[in-house]
Amino acid sequence: MLNMTALALAKAIRAKKLSVTEAVAEYIKQIEQTNPHLNTFLTVSKDTALARAQTIQAQIAAGEITSPLAGVPIALKDNISTLGIRTTCAAKMLENYVPVYNATVVDRLEQAGMIVIGKLNMDEFAMGGSSETGAYGTVRNPWDTERVAGGSSGGSAAAVAAGEVPLALGSDTGGSIRQPCAFCGVTGIKPTYGAVSRYGLVAYASSLDQVGSIGRTIDDCAAVLSLIAGPDDNDSTCVISKTFTFDTPLLERLAGFRIGLPRNYFAGGINADVAQAVLAAAKELAAAGAQVEEFDMPLMDYMVPAYYIIACAEASSNLSRYDGLKYGYRSPAAETLAEVYRLSRSEGFGLEVKRRIMLGSFVLSSGYYDAYYKKALQTRTLIKQAYDRLFERFDMILSPVAPTTAYKLGENVDDPLKMYMGDIYTVSVNLAGLPAVALPCGFDRQNLPIGFQLIGAAFSESKLVSAARTYQHRTSFHLQQPGGAWV
């Protein structure tokens, strides 16, 4: 059962070959076995999930829920607010924080009969690319537990890869869905900014954050996206009435698909195995009938700096509410108000989070705003305009997700610049608010997964999913599963 796709599992449930309770119990059993090795889950909501399984089973039997994923378990990155279930953002600051409300995406999943079985580990407040910065330990890569799972949605990608859950939600601010998917050999969608409500997603960088899905196949991910996407009164940036249905039939041929390949992404710092596998993916799509054409991606040197300035600026403001007063960690040593602020935040936040808060505070300070923040906003506009022009020529852009495969635990964590450069291929997508899908496309010589991404114009998810579906129909990288001592 753990090898089934989510859609197949839902079908089996509808066909009464399997009960919802059996499915939930089976996955929880797997989590209990493997989580001690992988550290993917921060909270397993076993009792509520099992109780809900019975309710959902009854509703499916009564024909009250007909969604294509009814009865399927799902786990959520721990920065998605769940009513009554601890939501820590992998932060000491929110160690005992239990939300009083559900994120919009959680309500929508539950209305569709999906069952939340737990909350997934991540980088602290989604800041990081290796899921090593959290306060509750490092997520380990199921393909090699001495290596990172990627981040910040490392728990989400690793849990899916390890068969602990058929589907997960992650969030992507600068690559946080796509990069762990690439590192763990699973599939993910980072939707267009504004396609999915952010209400209840604990903010890292508001103008960049977006919730998306992670699964074994593009069809599973698309099925979740069609449930969670659509306008929400509670999110002013999610107002365009676009809902997605991905029910177009499989395209045998990608006739008329124009795919751009950024030549300069394959020079310089990229690992040779990664470059080769990604170029092979381009060839595969060309073989399927797509027209692949090389081009030079402009502004490449400005993407990472612009991203870190904007993301850190917003983060410095978004994380100010963790002040030790209303909820979360308060330093026991604090006596005055100033000490409550200073000590609680100094002791409560991890190193990477503090680094970004300081960076963000600095670039917003008077005298520096124009030199940094304003310049970064201008750069962002240029990047958007560059993409606009590219999408006049291409339907989508094919690119690596990360310059390397999963690296060793601790290898980069003390070298922030090196870590930040790992985001080179992903951050511009967020700066421009575009959708992208990340798909497995091979393995390096150490048998570590490699991923590539397809980036489209705003709200072109259907086209991206079509191309991805054709690719997965022609390849089997996404069906490979890790093995190891933890299994």
Binding site: Y101, S317, L364
Partner: protein
């Protein structure tokens, strides 16, 4: 040397919307602490703001009334600072593109008209309240006020005296009240003003300014301006410098003291609020706001005179305060006698307000009761004396007019026999006056009628008494 003070104002007005600016919580004042709070206004992790359109419309109303340019593409920014009454540790405000700009208001001071420039009006959210609990020696947080919509009206430094500031504020207050956008209760904090003040040799270069906070009444504002002007002049005359700083006014002590200097001014790290889209006010929306503007004092005066023939003097009195105008309009509608209602409110009610020191905003008299009395007097059920007495009883004690008249026996006597009896008695008793009248001294008639009314305890129907007297004298 002749010194001149240069003063600018920052007026904060809480908008009287039903719900808060970014969530659906109620804005009602004076409820139990933390009862009007939701995850959004409490700043829980993951929440997002949702803009209240009515708040935008109210802000635009003020902009229109103050002759501002309405910003068609306006934006919100975050003002970041740590304080326990601010749960997100940032206030959503407007720095770069405020909703209204470049307006003015003409005020009349000592017979001359002065134009006060309005630099901008921006929208923002109010913060919560801190309450110090003396029993436990703890500071408690009440988040109910968090997210109540505010506008900040920033004037140009166009004032030179406390009198000008006071006149401007009183006029602004009336405008806000007429617009229906703010209840302007300074003691509840729904209208607050900060004052920027500097002094200079008359006509000279601008001096260093200080900002004064915590001004909770018009009186305090006047006192604070006078105090600060004196303080700055004294500093300069003794060869010292004015320090740019924020000062807090202590109205009980009648002094201000420094809170923080420019150097220690907080670094607000303003940046555009990414969680809200820009507000776009298109022609259609603006047009609908213009069309729905409430009737202002001037228009009310014209209408009262045109439609109801009310005198210019009475119309001016009736519109001097919006609450007086409201009372008048209610009484006029209920009694269906606008002219009588105008006489009553502009006359007797204003007199009673003065006599009892009742402020317009505290007017609590029941319009329905006043309308009843107007109906009674104009249908000759009571006479003018009884009317006046009953109005006072309604105003002061809130009595029921019908009951009061019945208990006091104020109903007018129109009974022909009773009147005839009184008239006959007067003619018998007042021989001299009767003789005078018959000898052609017609002013004796008034005396005789007065005597008859006295016998009727003042309740006689004046027309009937007069008629009966004339008949008896013929």
């Amino acid at each position: 040397m002749n010194w001149e003070s240069v003063i600018g104002l920052e007026v904060h007005a809480e908008l009287a919307t039903q719900s808060k600016i970014f969530c659906g919580c109620s804005t009602a004042f004076g409820q139990e602490p933390n009862t009007q709070v939701c995850p959004v206004c409490a700043g829980m992790p993951g929440v997002l703001p949702r803009l209240n359109r009515t708040a935008v419309e109210y802000a635009v109303r003020v902009g229109l009334a103050l002759n501002c340019t309405i910003t068609r593409y306006s934006k919100f920014d975050r003002k970041n600072y740590f304080y326990p009454d601010l749960p997100k540790a940032y206030q959503v405000s407007q720095l770069y593109a405020p909703i209204c700009r470049d307006g003015h208001l003409a005020v009349e001071v000592d017979g001359t008209t002065k134009i006060i420039g309005i630099r901008e009006i921006h929208m923002e959210e109010d913060a919560g309240k801190l309450i110090h609990d003396a029993v436990s020696d703890n500071t408690l947080m009440d988040f109910s006020r968090c997210g109540v919509p505010l506008i900040e009206i920033v004037t140009q430094p166009d004032f030179h005296s406390a009198a000008e500031v006071r006149t401007f504020l009183m006029q602004l207050r009336e405008i806000l009240l007429y617009l229906g956008v703010c209840d302007c209760k300074m003691q509840e904090g729904s209208l607050r003003a900060d004052i920027n003040i500097s002094v200079r040799p008359e006509g000279g270069e601008l001096g260093v300014r200080t900002e004064m906070k915590n001004l909770n009444s018009f009186k305090a504002i006047g006192r604070a301006i006078e105090y600060e002007t004196r303080r700055q002049i004294q500093l300069l005359e003794s060869g010292k410098q004015v320090v740019q700083e924020t000062r807090r006014w202590d109205d009980d002590a009648g002094v201000s003291y420094g809170m923080r200097s420019k150097e220690s001014a907080p670094e607000y790290r303003y940046f555009p609020e990414p969680d809200l889209l820009p507000i776009y006010i298109d022609d259609q929306w603006l047009q609908s706001i213009v069309e729905n503007l409430p009737e202002m004092a001037e228009a009310k005066r014209a209408r009262y005179m045109r439609c109801w023939g009310i005198s210019a003097l009475e119309a001016a009195t009736l519109t001097s305060h919006v609450y007086v105008a409201q009372l008048f309009e209610e009484v006029a509608a209920l009694s269906r006698n606008p002219m009588e209602a105008a006489h009553l409110v502009a006359g007797e009610i204003m007199r009673l307000m003065n006599q009892t020191d009742t402020l317009p905003e505290d007017l609590a008299v029941d319009a329905k009761k006043l309308a009843t009395l107007i109906t009674l007097v104009s249908s000759a059920k009571i006479n003018r004396n009884a009317y006046k007495e009953a109005v006072e009883a309604v105003f002061i004690d809130g009595v029921d007019p019908e009951e009061y008249i019945a208990q006091r026996g104020l109903r007018m006597v129109s009974d022909a026999d009773a009147i005839a009896e009184a008239v006959a008695a007067v003619i018998t008793e007042q021989r001299q006056a009767v003789a005078d009248y018959r000898a052609g001294q017609h002013k004796a008639l008034g005396f005789l009628i007065g005597q008859a009314m006295r016998k009727l305890q003042g309740k006689g129907n004046p027309a009937l008494v007069r008629k009966a007297m004339l008949e008896a004298l013929e």
